[in-house]
């Protein structure tokens, strides 16, 4: 049995760990609320943008635009979105796993490039052949994660649109954690470019709109706008997921620390009692020896 002092030290270290994890849980909870707010703020914008998009493309049959072109040059750009910090449970490793699985299943015979958003994915893919070295693309976009601003995301999206229009890639996908609720995040692979024009034909609006300028010109403004919104939404989702995942992980850690502390306290009390009993026995034995 370890000595009393050793157990006391362990109890102290466990309870200070517990303090840290429960503080981190509180911080994550506050940040999660802010991240969820940002998602809520984006919703009316994204909703309206989709409506207008549908209204315009409803009247047009198969329109040509440079963003849905098929370059077929076997180059795929993958953008995994992770966090800059760890201690968020399986949040980051899920994305890295998903990215690796995607490369294995769809990357056969293709030239894969990875442009990570978030330090964790960058640290992982930095050691692989997929990372970008000295082209017109940045090698990472970690700055987008901490203070997410639409302007920064828009600038980053412009770069992506340019490399696609320059025919450097035939396909761009983003891999991120979709936010369901604070405890559940779903890693998803989402197509970014080329834009799929075939879908949106389900709903036709009853209203007859007038357009200024022509529909085609509005579309060429609208598509970059919705692409930016798509990336922005993915980053926000990932951010909310990160804080949700960290909150859950820290909650579990706090619970585990509590359990550990309880067990240690029992061991400590047992050891204390044993030592007292031993002391009394010694005293009694000593007194007996004097009496006889």
């Amino acid at each position: 049995m370890p000595s009393l002092k050793e157990i006391r030290n362990r109890i102290n270290s466990v309870s200070s760990t517990m303090q840290i994890t429960s503080a981190m849980k509180m911080v994550s909870a506050a940040k999660l609320r802010r991240a969820q707010d940002a998602i809520l703020q984006l919703r009316p914008y994204a909703q309206k943008l989709k409506e207008i998009h549908q209204n315009i493309s409803a009247g047009l049959d198969a329109y040509e635009n440079p963003f849905s072109a098929n370059h077929s040059n076997n180059s795929v750009l993958i953008i995994p979105i992770t966090s800059n910090r760890g201690l968020a449970g399986p949040f980051n490793s899920n994305i890295i796993k998903k990215t690796k699985a995607f490369i294995e299943s769809e990357g056969k015979g293709k030239r894969i490039t990875v442009l990570p958003i978030g330090k964790k994915a960058y640290d992982y893919f930095r050691k692989t052949e997929y990372i970008i070295n000295g082209t017109d693309l940045p090698s990472h976009a970690n700055h987008l994660v901490d203070k997410t601003k639409f302007d920064d995301v828009a600038a980053f999206t412009e770069i992506l649109m340019n490399v696609f229009l320059n025919k450097q890639f035939e396909r761009i996908v983003i891999i991120y954690n979709q936010f369901k609720n604070p405890a559940v995040q779903i890693p998803v692979v989402e197509n970014f470019l080329p834009v799929n024009t075939a879908s949106d034909n389900g709903k036709t609006s009853k209203t007859e709109y007038d357009f200024e300028p022509q529909k085609e010109k509005i579309l060429s403004d609208l598509i970059p706008r919705s692409l930016k919104t798509q990336i922005y939404k993915a980053v926000l989702d990932s951010l909310a997921s990160e804080h949700g995942a960290r909150m859950t992980a820290m909650h579990k850690a706090t619970d585990n620390a509590k359990e550990l502390q309880r067990e240690l306290k029992i061991t400590y009390n047992k050891a204390r009692q044993a030592s007292i009993t031993k002391e009394i026995l010694e005293i009694v034995a000593g007194a007996e020896a004097l009496n006889s």
Binding site: A38, Q41, L42, Y45, A46, E208, Y209, E212, P213
Partner: protein, 78 residues
């Protein structure tokens, strides 16, 4: 009419407005009550309107797109 000015980060304006002047890409245009359904591209400039207390207001937008339908004017901007 109802006027909404929305950016991805927040709602810039949400309320009643009397007459709205938009910085259209092909020249500015005024919108009055019960305008016909319309979708128009906007360039950088000021959206000017009178709110329901007859105060003149002006909000700067960096380009965008406006939709007018059912006496509702929605402006999407960055």
């Amino acid at each position: 009419m109802k006027l909404f000015i929305i950016s991805p980060e927040k709602v810039l304006f949400d309320g009643e407005a009397e007459s709205v002047i938009l910085p259209g890409k092909e020249g500015s245009l005024g919108v009055l009550n019960h305008h016909a359904p319309y979708i128009v591209l906007l360039k950088d400039g000021n959206v000017e309107f009178q709110d329901n207390s007859n105060q003149k207001q002006s909000i700067y937008i960096k380009g965008g797109i406006a939709e007018i339908n059912e006496n509702k004017l929605t402006i999407l901007t960055d």
